[in-house]
Amino acid sequence: MYALREAIAAFRRAPVLTGLSSAMVGLALFVVGLFGLATYNLQLTLSAIEERVEVVVYLRDDARQSEIDLLLGELGDLEEVRLVRYLSKRDALERAQRELPEFGELFLESEVNPLPQSLEVELRPGDRNPEVVERVADWARQYPFVEDALYGEEWVDRLFALRRVGLASTAVLGGAFALVAALIIGTALRIAIFARRDEIYIMRLVGAKRGFIRRPFLLEGALAGLAGGVLAWLMTYGTYRGVYAYLFEVAWVPGTWVVAGLATGAAFGAVSSALAIRRHLREV
């Protein structure tokens, strides 16, 4: 209770200093927030593209219905497969006419349907990677009534290469931003603690316990970090609204990311305070 009272009192006693600390924390976390927003939207875009990763098994025209049913069942039983759709020659033609209107006339005029019947194999979300699609395609190709199994090998490879680059840059840049934010937060709180070094000195002098001395500062650091986190959230949200309204459509990050951001701000604050206060505790 004393720790909480003192932490709040510290805000009241030096509003400018604690306000500046929170603002610095806020700005540092704002950069992390912007990066998070960009990363999230990149991830959404990649996931949307990734959803289109599927294996199309083209069947011979002479494939019997029993054979098709057998393959349909066996593909459906594979762990990696979420859904298998049968597309007859007629369905394929109708779709082509619908989706490729420029060739509509050509399809209408032709007496022979040139499009093959096929099975469209949709994979489970965690299995839409080059290794799995290739394995499923190879597995389907072994059936004699299968003409071929295709999955857009080249663009799947590119998509996953892009995803790997995205992940690596997220880790490196995100880590760097987080580190810079931690340093800024640490410096801001160090200044705030330095301003109260006399109090720490007196506490040590008269026999306050270490934990007792530390607690209000940790709490103050956590509150400053949290206040900075809220500020960063507001600024990031404002930026998101601006981009959405005037530039292009973007998605707002999930609530868990916001909560994680606020918790990170508070944790950064508490840890930075703990590190800063260690030095002062050693002085007396």
């Binding site: 006693r13 006399d198 506490m203 002098l205 008269v206 270490r210």
Partner: protein, 241 residues
Amino acid sequence: MIKLTHVSKEYPKRGFALRDVSFHIKKGEFAFLTGHSGSGKSTTLRLIHMADHPTDGEVRVSGYSSERVTERDLWKVRRRVGYVFQDFRLLPGRTALENVAFALQVTDTPAKAIEPKAQRLLTQVGLAPKARAFVNELSGGEQQRVAIARALANDPYVLLADEPTGNLDERATRGVMELFRDINAKGMAILMATHDMELIKRHPTARVFELDNGALVYDSDSAEGPRENTRANPPASTGTL
């Protein structure tokens, strides 16, 4: 109460601040620790306060040994040893009462008992009328009284004072010394570091230790007779002033 046994303190850059110092201060004793600047007076007080560890030897304070006390237990030593400085070290921007109350707040005193006790301590040092005054509005002597009240907050067994009259005029010095005498009369041991020989001469019954270049060169209790009466007169006595 306080016992130093063959205590030496060496700092990496400054060299030896104390060399093989031994003395024992008993309960209720009043002692001066004198010597020139840099003779080791403040280092001795810091070692007794366990703000520093001796390089060699042992410091014992009220049952706690410098050889065994851990960082975790330091607060127990600190509550038995009050400390007063030349520059008062009060918290600016707070009243006299708040400064004393702060020492009580941070040392587990029940919330309801804090203000009455702080008031009582200020009354004891003669500053009750100025309890609500901000410390920067007080004179040097008054500020030192607030610092003494704060040092007494946890009912210590011994009071260490590092040149407590160094920043005070003659009148304030007399007042502070009278206050120390009253505190000592109630049974609290006092060890005061000072280089003011006139002050020591005015308190002839006090015990006197003299340090020179880190070594204890004089202890009025073990001296056979007065050494040219420069330290105290008479030199050897125990108990209150």
